[in-house]
Amino acid sequence: MRRWSLTAALAAVAAYLVLPLTVDDYWLAVLNLAGIAAIGALGLDLLTGRTGLLSLGHAAFLGAGAYTAAAVGGPFPLWLAAAGLVGAALGLAAAPFAVRLRGHTLAIVTLALVFVGQHVFREWTSVTGGNAGRSDLPAVGLPGTHDQGWFWLVWALVAATLLVVGNVARSRTGRAMAAVRSDEAAAAVMGVDVARTKAAAFVASGVLAAAAGALYGSYRQYVGPEDWGLLVSVQYLAMVLIGGMATLAGPVLGALFVTALPHVVDVVVETGPASGVTAAQVTQLVFGLLLVVVVMAEPRGLAALAARARCNGRRSPRVEQGCA
Protein backbone atom coordinates (compact mmCIF):
# COMPACT_ATOMS: atom_id res chain seq x y z
CA MET A 1 0.00 0.00 0.00
CA ARG A 2 2.63 2.48 1.07
CA ARG A 3 4.97 1.60 -1.77
CA TRP A 4 2.13 1.82 -4.25
CA SER A 5 1.07 5.31 -3.21
CA LEU A 6 4.70 6.50 -3.15
CA THR A 7 5.19 5.32 -6.72
CA ALA A 8 1.93 6.95 -7.74
CA ALA A 9 2.90 10.22 -6.09
CA LEU A 10 6.29 10.24 -7.82
CA ALA A 11 4.67 9.47 -11.16
CA ALA A 12 2.16 12.27 -10.61
CA VAL A 13 4.87 14.80 -9.78
CA ALA A 14 6.92 13.73 -12.80
CA ALA A 15 3.88 14.01 -15.06
CA TYR A 16 3.05 17.40 -13.57
CA LEU A 17 6.51 18.75 -14.41
CA VAL A 18 7.08 17.08 -17.77
CA LEU A 19 3.66 16.96 -19.46
CA PRO A 20 3.50 20.67 -20.40
CA LEU A 21 6.88 20.36 -22.12
CA THR A 22 5.91 17.35 -24.23
CA VAL A 23 2.19 17.62 -24.94
CA ASP A 24 1.11 19.95 -27.72
CA ASP A 25 -1.00 23.00 -26.94
CA TYR A 26 -4.27 21.51 -28.21
CA TRP A 27 -4.27 18.61 -25.74
CA LEU A 28 -2.69 20.79 -23.06
CA ALA A 29 -5.73 23.06 -23.35
CA VAL A 30 -7.96 20.00 -22.87
CA LEU A 31 -6.00 19.05 -19.75
CA ASN A 32 -6.26 22.63 -18.44
CA LEU A 33 -10.03 22.74 -18.91
CA ALA A 34 -10.26 19.30 -17.29
CA GLY A 35 -8.25 20.52 -14.29
CA ILE A 36 -10.48 23.55 -13.88
CA ALA A 37 -13.54 21.30 -14.20
CA ALA A 38 -12.04 18.91 -11.63
CA ILE A 39 -12.04 21.69 -9.01
CA GLY A 40 -15.71 22.41 -9.68
CA ALA A 41 -16.54 18.70 -9.74
CA LEU A 42 -14.83 18.15 -6.37
CA GLY A 43 -17.11 20.90 -5.05
CA LEU A 44 -20.22 19.26 -6.48
CA ASP A 45 -19.10 15.92 -5.05
CA LEU A 46 -19.04 17.44 -1.55
CA LEU A 47 -22.69 18.32 -2.06
CA THR A 48 -24.10 15.46 -4.12
CA GLY A 49 -21.65 12.62 -3.54
CA ARG A 50 -20.78 13.10 0.11
CA THR A 51 -23.88 14.80 1.54
CA GLY A 52 -26.42 13.27 -0.84
CA LEU A 53 -27.97 16.59 -1.95
CA LEU A 54 -28.79 16.39 -5.64
CA SER A 55 -28.11 19.76 -7.25
CA LEU A 56 -28.74 20.74 -10.85
CA GLY A 57 -27.75 24.32 -10.07
CA HIS A 58 -23.97 24.02 -10.21
CA ALA A 59 -23.70 26.03 -13.45
CA ALA A 60 -25.13 29.11 -11.72
CA PHE A 61 -22.36 29.01 -9.10
CA LEU A 62 -19.68 28.53 -11.75
CA GLY A 63 -21.02 31.46 -13.74
CA ALA A 64 -21.24 33.72 -10.70
CA GLY A 65 -17.55 33.03 -10.04
CA ALA A 66 -16.53 33.87 -13.60
CA TYR A 67 -18.44 37.16 -13.59
CA THR A 68 -17.03 38.03 -10.16
CA ALA A 69 -13.51 37.62 -11.51
CA ALA A 70 -14.38 39.90 -14.42
CA ALA A 71 -15.94 42.52 -12.15
CA VAL A 72 -13.23 42.51 -9.46
CA GLY A 73 -10.12 42.18 -11.60
CA GLY A 74 -6.77 42.96 -10.05
CA PRO A 75 -4.17 40.37 -9.05
CA PHE A 76 -4.85 36.62 -9.13
CA PRO A 77 -5.31 36.01 -5.35
CA LEU A 78 -7.75 38.92 -5.12
CA TRP A 79 -10.21 37.84 -7.81
CA LEU A 80 -9.96 34.18 -6.87
CA ALA A 81 -10.76 35.02 -3.24
CA ALA A 82 -13.57 37.35 -4.28
CA ALA A 83 -15.08 34.62 -6.45
CA GLY A 84 -14.82 32.18 -3.54
CA LEU A 85 -16.61 34.64 -1.25
CA VAL A 86 -19.42 35.18 -3.73
CA GLY A 87 -19.73 31.41 -4.14
CA ALA A 88 -19.93 30.99 -0.38
CA ALA A 89 -22.62 33.66 -0.09
CA LEU A 90 -24.69 32.05 -2.87
CA GLY A 91 -24.24 28.63 -1.26
CA LEU A 92 -25.52 30.05 2.00
CA ALA A 93 -28.49 31.56 0.16
CA ALA A 94 -29.30 28.18 -1.43
CA ALA A 95 -29.02 26.30 1.87
CA PRO A 96 -32.59 26.98 3.13
CA PHE A 97 -33.96 25.07 0.13
CA ALA A 98 -31.78 22.09 0.94
CA VAL A 99 -33.01 22.09 4.53
CA ARG A 100 -36.66 22.04 3.46
CA LEU A 101 -36.57 19.77 0.44
CA ARG A 102 -35.31 16.34 -0.36
CA GLY A 103 -34.20 14.25 -3.31
CA HIS A 104 -36.11 14.96 -6.46
CA THR A 105 -37.71 18.21 -5.35
CA LEU A 106 -34.34 19.66 -4.50
CA ALA A 107 -33.13 18.72 -7.99
CA ILE A 108 -35.98 20.65 -9.57
CA VAL A 109 -35.61 23.67 -7.32
CA THR A 110 -31.85 23.87 -7.94
CA LEU A 111 -32.66 23.59 -11.66
CA ALA A 112 -34.47 26.91 -11.20
CA LEU A 113 -31.16 28.42 -10.04
CA VAL A 114 -29.72 27.79 -13.52
CA PHE A 115 -32.54 29.66 -15.23
CA VAL A 116 -32.54 32.49 -12.71
CA GLY A 117 -28.74 32.67 -13.00
CA GLN A 118 -28.78 32.84 -16.80
CA HIS A 119 -31.44 35.50 -16.64
CA VAL A 120 -29.35 37.63 -14.27
CA PHE A 121 -26.24 37.07 -16.43
CA ARG A 122 -28.17 38.40 -19.44
CA GLU A 123 -29.93 41.30 -17.78
CA TRP A 124 -27.39 42.75 -15.35
CA THR A 125 -25.45 44.24 -18.23
CA SER A 126 -23.33 46.70 -16.21
CA VAL A 127 -21.55 43.76 -14.53
CA THR A 128 -21.99 40.89 -16.97
CA GLY A 129 -21.89 42.57 -20.36
CA GLY A 130 -25.31 41.06 -21.18
CA ASN A 131 -25.62 38.72 -24.14
CA ALA A 132 -22.25 39.78 -25.54
CA GLY A 133 -20.48 38.73 -22.36
CA ARG A 134 -17.15 40.12 -21.22
CA SER A 135 -13.68 39.59 -22.57
CA ASP A 136 -11.81 41.88 -20.16
CA LEU A 137 -11.11 39.27 -17.52
CA PRO A 138 -7.96 39.53 -15.41
CA ALA A 139 -5.04 37.52 -16.80
CA VAL A 140 -2.44 35.71 -14.72
CA GLY A 141 1.32 36.23 -15.20
CA LEU A 142 2.70 32.72 -15.68
CA PRO A 143 5.91 31.12 -16.98
CA GLY A 144 6.04 29.42 -20.40
CA THR A 145 3.35 29.63 -23.06
CA HIS A 146 -0.25 30.39 -22.10
CA ASP A 147 -1.20 26.72 -21.86
CA GLN A 148 2.02 25.57 -20.18
CA GLY A 149 1.72 28.19 -17.46
CA TRP A 150 -1.94 27.44 -16.90
CA PHE A 151 -1.23 23.70 -16.67
CA TRP A 152 1.18 24.22 -13.80
CA LEU A 153 -1.19 26.64 -12.06
CA VAL A 154 -4.40 24.65 -12.53
CA TRP A 155 -3.06 21.26 -11.55
CA ALA A 156 -1.33 22.69 -8.48
CA LEU A 157 -4.72 24.09 -7.49
CA VAL A 158 -6.31 20.69 -8.16
CA ALA A 159 -3.75 19.09 -5.81
CA ALA A 160 -4.48 21.72 -3.15
CA THR A 161 -8.23 21.15 -3.54
CA LEU A 162 -7.75 17.39 -3.22
CA LEU A 163 -5.77 17.94 -0.02
CA VAL A 164 -8.47 20.18 1.48
CA VAL A 165 -11.41 18.02 0.39
CA GLY A 166 -9.65 14.87 1.62
CA ASN A 167 -9.10 16.42 5.02
CA VAL A 168 -12.63 17.82 5.24
CA ALA A 169 -14.00 14.37 4.43
CA ARG A 170 -12.16 12.91 7.41
CA SER A 171 -13.16 15.75 9.74
CA ARG A 172 -16.19 15.98 12.03
CA THR A 173 -18.05 17.89 9.29
CA GLY A 174 -17.16 15.26 6.69
CA ARG A 175 -18.48 12.44 8.84
CA ALA A 176 -21.60 14.47 9.56
CA MET A 177 -22.08 14.81 5.79
CA ALA A 178 -21.82 11.05 5.32
CA ALA A 179 -24.31 10.54 8.17
CA VAL A 180 -26.78 12.97 6.61
CA ARG A 181 -26.41 11.21 3.27
CA SER A 182 -27.14 7.74 4.62
CA ASP A 183 -30.02 8.69 6.95
CA GLU A 184 -31.05 12.19 7.98
CA ALA A 185 -33.18 11.08 10.89
CA ALA A 186 -30.51 8.77 12.27
CA ALA A 187 -27.92 11.53 11.89
CA ALA A 188 -30.10 13.97 13.80
CA VAL A 189 -30.66 11.41 16.57
CA MET A 190 -26.90 10.98 16.91
CA GLY A 191 -26.49 14.70 17.45
CA VAL A 192 -25.58 15.85 13.94
CA ASP A 193 -26.95 19.31 13.17
CA VAL A 194 -28.54 18.37 9.83
CA ALA A 195 -29.44 21.90 8.73
CA ARG A 196 -25.95 23.18 9.49
CA THR A 197 -24.26 20.26 7.74
CA LYS A 198 -26.34 20.81 4.60
CA ALA A 199 -25.55 24.53 4.69
CA ALA A 200 -21.83 23.76 5.09
CA ALA A 201 -21.97 21.44 2.07
CA PHE A 202 -23.68 24.09 -0.06
CA VAL A 203 -21.19 26.77 1.02
CA ALA A 204 -18.13 24.58 0.37
CA SER A 205 -19.53 23.48 -2.97
CA GLY A 206 -20.30 27.10 -3.87
CA VAL A 207 -16.75 28.21 -3.07
CA LEU A 208 -15.15 25.54 -5.25
CA ALA A 209 -17.64 26.06 -8.09
CA ALA A 210 -17.13 29.82 -8.13
CA ALA A 211 -13.35 29.40 -8.00
CA ALA A 212 -13.51 26.99 -10.93
CA GLY A 213 -15.74 29.40 -12.84
CA ALA A 214 -13.34 32.29 -12.19
CA LEU A 215 -10.39 30.20 -13.42
CA TYR A 216 -12.39 29.15 -16.49
CA GLY A 217 -13.15 32.76 -17.33
CA SER A 218 -9.60 33.97 -16.81
CA TYR A 219 -8.15 31.06 -18.78
CA ARG A 220 -10.42 31.66 -21.75
CA GLN A 221 -10.43 35.45 -21.33
CA TYR A 222 -14.14 35.42 -22.01
CA VAL A 223 -17.36 34.87 -20.11
CA GLY A 224 -20.86 34.89 -21.60
CA PRO A 225 -24.32 33.79 -20.48
CA GLU A 226 -24.44 30.80 -22.84
CA ASP A 227 -21.59 29.12 -20.93
CA TRP A 228 -23.74 28.40 -17.86
CA GLY A 229 -26.78 26.49 -19.09
CA LEU A 230 -28.41 23.35 -17.74
CA LEU A 231 -26.14 21.14 -19.83
CA VAL A 232 -23.14 22.40 -17.83
CA SER A 233 -24.83 21.37 -14.59
CA VAL A 234 -25.56 17.97 -16.09
CA GLN A 235 -21.96 17.63 -17.26
CA TYR A 236 -20.65 18.32 -13.76
CA LEU A 237 -23.04 15.79 -12.26
CA ALA A 238 -21.87 13.37 -14.93
CA MET A 239 -18.23 13.96 -13.96
CA VAL A 240 -19.01 13.11 -10.35
CA LEU A 241 -21.13 10.12 -11.29
CA ILE A 242 -18.91 8.69 -14.04
CA GLY A 243 -15.79 9.26 -11.98
CA GLY A 244 -17.21 7.87 -8.77
CA MET A 245 -19.11 9.66 -6.02
CA ALA A 246 -17.60 10.39 -2.61
CA THR A 247 -14.08 9.53 -3.70
CA LEU A 248 -11.12 11.85 -4.25
CA ALA A 249 -10.00 10.38 -7.55
CA GLY A 250 -13.53 10.12 -8.96
CA PRO A 251 -14.34 13.77 -9.74
CA VAL A 252 -10.86 14.27 -11.23
CA LEU A 253 -11.14 11.20 -13.45
CA GLY A 254 -14.68 12.20 -14.37
CA ALA A 255 -13.59 15.74 -15.27
CA LEU A 256 -10.81 14.37 -17.50
CA PHE A 257 -13.23 11.97 -19.12
CA VAL A 258 -16.10 14.39 -19.76
CA THR A 259 -13.78 17.18 -20.95
CA ALA A 260 -11.79 14.94 -23.27
CA LEU A 261 -14.83 13.14 -24.72
CA PRO A 262 -15.71 15.71 -27.44
CA HIS A 263 -12.08 15.93 -28.55
CA VAL A 264 -11.68 12.16 -28.69
CA VAL A 265 -14.93 11.87 -30.66
CA ASP A 266 -13.59 14.57 -33.00
CA VAL A 267 -10.54 12.45 -33.71
CA VAL A 268 -12.31 9.10 -33.91
CA VAL A 269 -15.39 10.02 -35.91
CA GLU A 270 -14.70 11.31 -39.36
CA THR A 271 -17.85 13.29 -39.99
CA GLY A 272 -17.80 15.28 -43.16
CA PRO A 273 -20.54 17.83 -43.76
CA ALA A 274 -21.93 15.48 -46.40
CA SER A 275 -23.08 12.94 -43.81
CA GLY A 276 -25.21 15.61 -42.15
CA VAL A 277 -24.13 14.48 -38.71
CA THR A 278 -21.84 16.74 -36.71
CA ALA A 279 -19.21 15.62 -34.22
CA ALA A 280 -21.09 17.61 -31.57
CA GLN A 281 -24.17 15.46 -32.12
CA VAL A 282 -22.15 12.27 -31.88
CA THR A 283 -20.49 13.56 -28.70
CA GLN A 284 -23.83 14.32 -27.07
CA LEU A 285 -25.24 10.98 -28.15
CA VAL A 286 -22.28 9.10 -26.70
CA PHE A 287 -22.43 11.26 -23.56
CA GLY A 288 -26.12 10.55 -23.01
CA LEU A 289 -25.79 6.82 -23.61
CA LEU A 290 -22.69 6.63 -21.40
CA LEU A 291 -24.59 8.27 -18.55
CA VAL A 292 -27.25 5.59 -18.78
CA VAL A 293 -24.72 2.76 -19.09
CA VAL A 294 -22.54 3.96 -16.20
CA VAL A 295 -25.51 4.46 -13.89
CA MET A 296 -26.71 0.94 -14.66
CA ALA A 297 -23.48 -1.02 -14.92
CA GLU A 298 -21.00 0.57 -12.53
CA PRO A 299 -22.74 3.03 -10.23
CA ARG A 300 -19.49 3.62 -8.34
CA GLY A 301 -17.81 4.91 -11.47
CA LEU A 302 -14.31 4.90 -12.90
CA ALA A 303 -12.72 5.14 -9.45
CA ALA A 304 -14.27 1.79 -8.57
CA LEU A 305 -12.97 0.26 -11.81
CA ALA A 306 -9.47 1.51 -10.98
CA ALA A 307 -9.73 0.19 -7.43
CA ARG A 308 -10.87 -3.18 -8.72
CA ALA A 309 -7.95 -3.40 -11.13
CA ARG A 310 -5.57 -2.46 -8.33
CA CYS A 311 -7.04 -5.08 -6.01
CA ASN A 312 -6.92 -7.96 -8.47
CA GLY A 313 -4.63 -10.77 -7.38
CA ARG A 314 -4.17 -9.31 -3.94
CA ARG A 315 -4.32 -11.89 -1.17
CA SER A 316 -5.68 -9.81 1.67
CA PRO A 317 -7.96 -7.19 0.24
CA ARG A 318 -8.44 -4.19 2.44
CA VAL A 319 -11.79 -2.61 2.95
CA GLU A 320 -10.51 0.94 3.13
CA GLN A 321 -8.96 0.58 -0.31
CA GLY A 322 -12.27 -0.45 -1.74
CA CYS A 323 -11.01 -3.99 -2.31
CA ALA A 324 -13.65 -5.68 -0.18
Binding site: T48, G52, L54, L56, P96, F97, R100, L101, G103, H104, T105, A107, I108, V109, L111, A112, F115, V116, H119, E123, A185, L230, L231, V234, L237, A238, L241, M245, G276, V277, Q281, V282, Q284, L285, F287, G288, L289, L290, L291, V292, V295, M296, P299
Partner: protein, 290 residues
Protein backbone atom coordinates in the same frame (compact mmCIF):
# COMPACT_ATOMS: atom_id res chain seq x y z
CA UNK B 1 -60.54 45.30 -19.27
CA UNK B 2 -61.05 43.13 -22.32
CA UNK B 3 -57.27 43.29 -22.69
CA UNK B 4 -56.64 41.69 -19.33
CA UNK B 5 -59.36 39.12 -19.88
CA UNK B 6 -57.86 38.21 -23.23
CA UNK B 7 -54.44 37.81 -21.65
CA UNK B 8 -55.85 35.58 -18.92
CA UNK B 9 -57.51 33.34 -21.51
CA UNK B 10 -54.25 33.19 -23.47
CA UNK B 11 -52.50 32.33 -20.22
CA UNK B 12 -54.95 29.54 -19.52
CA UNK B 13 -54.29 28.18 -23.02
CA UNK B 14 -50.53 28.18 -22.43
CA UNK B 15 -51.21 26.80 -18.96
CA UNK B 16 -53.14 23.91 -20.53
CA UNK B 17 -49.98 22.86 -22.33
CA UNK B 18 -47.95 23.12 -19.12
CA UNK B 19 -50.65 21.12 -17.40
CA UNK B 20 -50.29 18.34 -19.94
CA UNK B 21 -46.55 18.17 -19.33
CA UNK B 22 -47.01 18.44 -15.56
CA UNK B 23 -49.58 15.62 -15.60
CA UNK B 24 -47.00 13.41 -17.31
CA UNK B 25 -44.44 14.11 -14.58
CA UNK B 26 -46.95 13.56 -11.79
CA UNK B 27 -48.42 10.32 -13.15
CA UNK B 28 -44.97 8.75 -13.47
CA UNK B 29 -43.79 10.08 -10.13
CA UNK B 30 -46.86 8.88 -8.27
CA UNK B 31 -46.75 5.43 -9.76
CA UNK B 32 -43.02 4.76 -9.70
CA UNK B 33 -41.30 7.43 -7.59
CA UNK B 34 -39.23 8.53 -10.59
CA UNK B 35 -38.83 12.12 -11.79
CA UNK B 36 -38.76 11.66 -15.51
CA UNK B 37 -36.33 14.18 -16.98
CA UNK B 38 -36.89 12.49 -20.33
CA UNK B 39 -40.42 13.94 -20.48
CA UNK B 40 -39.05 16.72 -22.70
CA UNK B 41 -37.63 14.13 -25.09
CA UNK B 42 -41.03 12.40 -25.29
CA UNK B 43 -42.59 15.76 -26.15
CA UNK B 44 -39.97 16.43 -28.82
CA UNK B 45 -40.37 12.95 -30.28
CA UNK B 46 -44.16 13.30 -30.34
CA UNK B 47 -43.99 16.59 -32.23
CA UNK B 48 -41.48 15.34 -34.83
CA UNK B 49 -43.30 12.05 -35.36
CA UNK B 50 -46.52 13.99 -35.94
CA UNK B 51 -44.71 16.12 -38.50
CA UNK B 52 -43.29 13.04 -40.20
CA UNK B 53 -46.66 11.29 -40.28
CA UNK B 54 -48.69 14.32 -41.39
CA UNK B 55 -46.27 15.93 -43.84
CA UNK B 56 -44.05 12.98 -44.80
CA UNK B 57 -46.67 10.26 -45.19
CA UNK B 58 -49.61 12.58 -45.85
CA UNK B 59 -51.80 11.10 -43.11
CA UNK B 60 -54.79 13.16 -41.91
CA UNK B 61 -53.82 15.25 -38.89
CA UNK B 62 -55.73 13.35 -36.13
CA UNK B 63 -54.38 10.06 -37.43
CA UNK B 64 -50.86 11.52 -37.56
CA UNK B 65 -51.12 12.56 -33.90
CA UNK B 66 -52.35 9.08 -32.98
CA UNK B 67 -49.46 7.45 -34.85
CA UNK B 68 -47.01 9.83 -33.16
CA UNK B 69 -48.48 9.06 -29.74
CA UNK B 70 -48.06 5.34 -30.43
CA UNK B 71 -44.43 5.94 -31.38
CA UNK B 72 -43.78 7.98 -28.25
CA UNK B 73 -45.48 5.34 -26.11
CA UNK B 74 -43.32 2.63 -27.68
CA UNK B 75 -40.18 4.65 -26.94
CA UNK B 76 -41.33 5.31 -23.37
CA UNK B 77 -42.01 1.60 -22.80
CA UNK B 78 -38.54 0.69 -24.06
CA UNK B 79 -36.96 3.24 -21.70
CA UNK B 80 -39.14 2.03 -18.86
CA UNK B 81 -38.23 -1.62 -19.45
CA UNK B 82 -34.52 -1.25 -20.21
CA UNK B 83 -33.54 1.59 -17.88
CA UNK B 84 -36.02 2.81 -15.31
CA UNK B 85 -37.34 -0.47 -13.96
CA UNK B 86 -33.81 -1.74 -13.39
CA UNK B 87 -33.03 1.31 -11.29
CA UNK B 88 -35.80 0.63 -8.75
CA UNK B 89 -34.65 1.44 -5.25
CA UNK B 90 -31.51 3.28 -6.34
CA UNK B 91 -30.78 6.78 -5.07
CA UNK B 92 -32.44 9.77 -6.69
CA UNK B 93 -29.22 10.90 -8.39
CA UNK B 94 -28.92 7.63 -10.32
CA UNK B 95 -32.45 7.78 -11.67
CA UNK B 96 -32.29 11.50 -12.47
CA UNK B 97 -29.01 11.08 -14.35
CA UNK B 98 -30.25 8.05 -16.26
CA UNK B 99 -33.36 9.86 -17.49
CA UNK B 100 -31.26 12.94 -18.32
CA UNK B 101 -28.93 10.67 -20.30
CA UNK B 102 -31.89 9.25 -22.20
CA UNK B 103 -33.13 12.79 -22.90
CA UNK B 104 -29.75 13.99 -24.19
CA UNK B 105 -29.31 10.94 -26.42
CA UNK B 106 -32.88 11.12 -27.76
CA UNK B 107 -32.50 14.83 -28.59
CA UNK B 108 -29.47 13.98 -30.74
CA UNK B 109 -31.26 11.17 -32.53
CA UNK B 110 -34.11 13.57 -33.35
CA UNK B 111 -31.78 16.18 -34.85
CA UNK B 112 -29.79 13.49 -36.67
CA UNK B 113 -32.95 12.18 -38.31
CA UNK B 114 -34.86 15.42 -38.89
CA UNK B 115 -32.12 18.07 -38.87
CA UNK B 116 -32.10 21.42 -37.10
CA UNK B 117 -34.61 23.30 -39.26
CA UNK B 118 -38.22 23.90 -38.21
CA UNK B 119 -40.75 21.24 -39.23
CA UNK B 120 -44.38 22.08 -39.73
CA UNK B 121 -47.10 19.78 -38.57
CA UNK B 122 -49.71 20.48 -41.25
CA UNK B 123 -52.17 21.15 -38.46
CA UNK B 124 -55.73 22.26 -39.22
CA UNK B 125 -55.63 25.50 -37.19
CA UNK B 126 -52.56 27.21 -38.61
CA UNK B 127 -51.93 30.84 -37.65
CA UNK B 128 -55.58 31.91 -37.82
CA UNK B 129 -57.59 33.46 -35.02
CA UNK B 130 -61.22 33.38 -33.91
CA UNK B 131 -63.52 35.75 -32.02
CA UNK B 132 -65.21 34.22 -29.01
CA UNK B 133 -67.43 36.44 -26.82
CA UNK B 134 -65.65 39.58 -27.91
CA UNK B 135 -62.19 38.13 -27.29
CA UNK B 136 -59.74 37.48 -30.10
CA UNK B 137 -57.99 34.15 -29.66
CA UNK B 138 -55.61 32.32 -31.92
CA UNK B 139 -56.94 28.99 -33.05
CA UNK B 140 -54.09 27.09 -31.48
CA UNK B 141 -55.01 28.62 -28.10
CA UNK B 142 -58.55 27.36 -28.51
CA UNK B 143 -57.19 23.95 -29.44
CA UNK B 144 -54.94 23.98 -26.35
CA UNK B 145 -57.85 24.84 -24.08
CA UNK B 146 -60.04 22.14 -25.59
CA UNK B 147 -57.35 19.45 -25.60
CA UNK B 148 -56.25 20.38 -22.07
CA UNK B 149 -59.77 20.25 -20.68
CA UNK B 150 -60.58 17.03 -22.52
CA UNK B 151 -57.36 15.38 -21.32
CA UNK B 152 -57.94 16.42 -17.72
CA UNK B 153 -61.50 15.12 -17.85
CA UNK B 154 -60.37 11.94 -19.58
CA UNK B 155 -57.67 11.28 -16.99
CA UNK B 156 -60.10 11.93 -14.15
CA UNK B 157 -62.54 9.43 -15.66
CA UNK B 158 -59.70 6.95 -16.19
CA UNK B 159 -58.49 7.15 -12.60
CA UNK B 160 -62.01 6.99 -11.14
CA UNK B 161 -63.75 4.59 -13.42
CA UNK B 162 -61.37 1.95 -14.77
CA UNK B 163 -59.67 -1.01 -13.12
CA UNK B 164 -56.26 0.11 -14.38
CA UNK B 165 -56.85 3.63 -13.06
CA UNK B 166 -57.82 2.22 -9.70
CA UNK B 167 -54.70 0.03 -9.74
CA UNK B 168 -52.52 3.08 -10.41
CA UNK B 169 -54.14 4.96 -7.55
CA UNK B 170 -53.75 2.02 -5.21
CA UNK B 171 -50.08 1.63 -6.13
CA UNK B 172 -49.51 5.35 -5.62
CA UNK B 173 -50.99 5.33 -2.16
CA UNK B 174 -49.16 2.19 -1.01
CA UNK B 175 -47.06 0.22 -3.49
CA UNK B 176 -46.50 -2.77 -1.22
CA UNK B 177 -50.10 -3.16 -0.20
CA UNK B 178 -51.15 -2.85 -3.83
CA UNK B 179 -48.67 -5.53 -4.86
CA UNK B 180 -49.93 -7.78 -2.07
CA UNK B 181 -53.45 -7.39 -3.47
CA UNK B 182 -52.33 -8.65 -6.85
CA UNK B 183 -51.59 -5.39 -8.68
CA UNK B 184 -48.43 -6.01 -10.65
CA UNK B 185 -45.89 -3.20 -10.15
CA UNK B 186 -44.63 -3.72 -13.71
CA UNK B 187 -48.11 -3.11 -15.12
CA UNK B 188 -48.48 0.04 -13.03
CA UNK B 189 -45.10 1.36 -14.18
CA UNK B 190 -45.82 0.59 -17.86
CA UNK B 191 -49.24 2.21 -17.72
CA UNK B 192 -47.83 5.35 -16.12
CA UNK B 193 -45.11 5.71 -18.76
CA UNK B 194 -47.57 5.12 -21.58
CA UNK B 195 -49.87 7.81 -20.18
CA UNK B 196 -46.94 10.21 -19.79
CA UNK B 197 -45.86 9.64 -23.39
CA UNK B 198 -49.40 10.24 -24.64
CA UNK B 199 -49.89 13.55 -22.83
CA UNK B 200 -46.34 14.58 -23.81
CA UNK B 201 -47.21 14.01 -27.48
CA UNK B 202 -50.33 16.15 -27.12
CA UNK B 203 -48.30 18.91 -25.44
CA UNK B 204 -45.60 18.69 -28.12
CA UNK B 205 -48.16 18.90 -30.91
CA UNK B 206 -49.81 21.95 -29.33
CA UNK B 207 -46.47 23.71 -28.84
CA UNK B 208 -45.32 22.96 -32.38
CA UNK B 209 -48.58 23.74 -34.20
CA UNK B 210 -50.29 27.00 -35.01
CA UNK B 211 -47.72 29.69 -35.74
CA UNK B 212 -44.96 27.48 -34.27
CA UNK B 213 -43.16 24.45 -35.62
CA UNK B 214 -41.24 21.47 -34.31
CA UNK B 215 -37.78 22.76 -33.39
CA UNK B 216 -34.89 20.99 -31.64
CA UNK B 217 -35.20 22.91 -28.36
CA UNK B 218 -38.88 22.10 -27.95
CA UNK B 219 -37.97 19.67 -25.18
CA UNK B 220 -36.74 22.52 -23.02
CA UNK B 221 -40.33 23.71 -22.82
CA UNK B 222 -41.03 20.66 -20.68
CA UNK B 223 -38.67 22.03 -18.03
CA UNK B 224 -40.85 25.13 -17.81
CA UNK B 225 -43.61 22.90 -16.45
CA UNK B 226 -41.53 22.06 -13.38
CA UNK B 227 -42.72 25.10 -11.41
CA UNK B 228 -46.27 23.91 -12.09
CA UNK B 229 -45.42 20.46 -10.74
CA UNK B 230 -43.79 21.84 -7.60
CA UNK B 231 -46.53 24.42 -6.97
CA UNK B 232 -49.12 21.70 -7.31
CA UNK B 233 -47.42 19.58 -4.72
CA UNK B 234 -45.87 16.92 -6.97
CA UNK B 235 -48.28 14.11 -6.30
CA UNK B 236 -51.70 15.51 -7.02
CA UNK B 237 -53.28 15.60 -10.48
CA UNK B 238 -55.52 18.48 -9.43
CA UNK B 239 -52.44 20.27 -8.19
CA UNK B 240 -50.71 19.81 -11.54
CA UNK B 241 -53.77 21.22 -13.28
CA UNK B 242 -54.00 24.25 -11.01
CA UNK B 243 -50.23 24.78 -11.03
CA UNK B 244 -50.03 24.52 -14.82
CA UNK B 245 -52.85 27.00 -15.39
CA UNK B 246 -51.42 29.41 -12.78
CA UNK B 247 -47.95 29.33 -14.34
CA UNK B 248 -49.43 29.89 -17.82
CA UNK B 249 -51.38 32.95 -16.68
CA UNK B 250 -48.41 34.33 -14.72
CA UNK B 251 -46.14 33.89 -17.74
CA UNK B 252 -48.50 35.63 -20.19
CA UNK B 253 -49.27 38.51 -17.81
CA UNK B 254 -45.55 38.99 -17.07
CA UNK B 255 -44.77 39.00 -20.77
CA UNK B 256 -47.26 41.82 -21.20
CA UNK B 257 -46.49 43.99 -18.19
CA UNK B 258 -42.82 43.12 -17.43
CA UNK B 259 -41.51 42.13 -20.85
CA UNK B 260 -38.32 40.08 -20.77
CA UNK B 261 -39.02 38.67 -17.31
CA UNK B 262 -41.62 36.07 -18.30
CA UNK B 263 -39.27 33.11 -18.40
CA UNK B 264 -37.82 33.69 -14.95
CA UNK B 265 -40.88 34.77 -12.95
CA UNK B 266 -42.43 31.26 -12.77
CA UNK B 267 -39.17 29.94 -11.32
CA UNK B 268 -38.97 32.80 -8.82
CA UNK B 269 -42.57 32.12 -7.81
CA UNK B 270 -41.67 28.47 -7.29
CA UNK B 271 -38.60 29.36 -5.17
CA UNK B 272 -40.70 31.69 -3.02
CA UNK B 273 -43.42 29.09 -2.53
CA UNK B 274 -41.17 26.20 -1.54
CA UNK B 275 -39.54 28.32 1.16
CA UNK B 276 -42.93 28.77 2.83
CA UNK B 277 -44.75 25.59 1.78
CA UNK B 278 -42.16 22.94 0.79
CA UNK B 279 -44.94 20.48 -0.11
CA UNK B 280 -46.55 22.85 -2.58
CA UNK B 281 -49.58 25.05 -2.32
CA UNK B 282 -52.28 22.44 -2.68
CA UNK B 283 -50.89 19.26 -1.21
CA UNK B 284 -52.00 18.46 2.31
CA UNK B 285 -49.22 18.76 4.84
CA UNK B 286 -48.03 15.27 5.53
CA UNK B 287 -46.59 14.18 8.80
CA UNK B 288 -43.08 12.92 8.05
CA UNK B 289 -42.36 9.51 9.39
CA UNK B 290 -38.86 8.93 10.69
Amino acid sequence: MTGVFELVVKGLALGSVYTLVALGFVVVFKATGVINFAQGALLLLGAYLTSAAAVGWGLPFPLAVAVAALGAVAFALVVERLVVRRLQGRPAVAVVMATLGVAIAADQVVTMVWGFGPRHLDDPWGAGSVRVAGVVLSQVDVAALVVGAATAAGLAAFFRGTRLGLALRAAASDAEAAAALGIRPATVSRAAWALAATVATLAGVLLASGPGAAVPNLGEQALRAFPAVVLGGFVSLGGALAGGLAIGVVEVLTARYLPGQELVVPYLAMLAVVLVRPDGLLAPREARRL
